[in-house]
Symmetry: C2
Subunit: 119 residues, 2 copies
């Protein structure tokens, strides 16, 4: 990479890509799923249920914090994590909109029937 070209795209595309990127690893999906299911703040012991070390897990959590999907709470010396409702809703809207925008009609590509597939 000679330079980070990501900045040169439309702001909307960048924002969408940022959220998609945050979800682009199974560990992060599992963390979010866990938090959404239990609705209980994350404690360190979940690292047992992951095939990763505490350090690596911490790295993924930090990434989710960076995009704002997870917030950390301090209580009695322990650090609890939970999902940020506002950010989760924001993400849901942004990604849903994109997925809807690129929806295709059922008869799409019928005009390509005459073409020969190369893949």
């Amino acid at each position: 990479m000679v330079a980070a070209k990501t900045d040169l795209f439309e702001k909307e595309l960048q924002e969408q890509a940022t959220f998609f990127k945050a979800l682009a690893h199974p560990a992060r999906l599992q963390i979010i799923k866990y938090l959404a299911e239990t609705r209980i703040c994350l404690t360190g012991d979940i690292s047992d249920t992951f095939p990763l070390t505490r350090t690596t897990l911490n790295q993924h959590i930090r990434e989710l914090k960076n995009v704002g999907l997870i917030v950390g709470h301090e209580k009695e010396g322990k650090t609890y994590c939970c999902l940020n409702l506002e950010k989760m809703n924001e993400m849901y809207s942004i990604l849903s909109i994109f997925l809807s925008e690129v929806q295709l009609p059922e008869n799409f590509c019928c005009e390509c029937g005459e073409f020969k597939y190369t893949y």
Copy 2:
């Protein structure tokens, strides 16, 4: 990375992450958006509308082909690209399901009100 740990996660999580990863770059989002809007097979001249070289663009297109979202057609010596309806629908389902699964109730996190935010 000592080893690729991605394989150690649940198959469902891996599948979801694969699609999210495919959408994790603004260039790829723009390509998909363009194809969905025009519904016309992609010709080389779109590289003018991107802040990237033909080579890099080709790389992103190849990635989208690898996950099956884009298919290539041969016609009169030119290579046309278009979205794969079936795969797009599959992706829509898979990602929509995930986004729904992690939806939170409006009163979520109210029990955390007593906590002090650290981020």
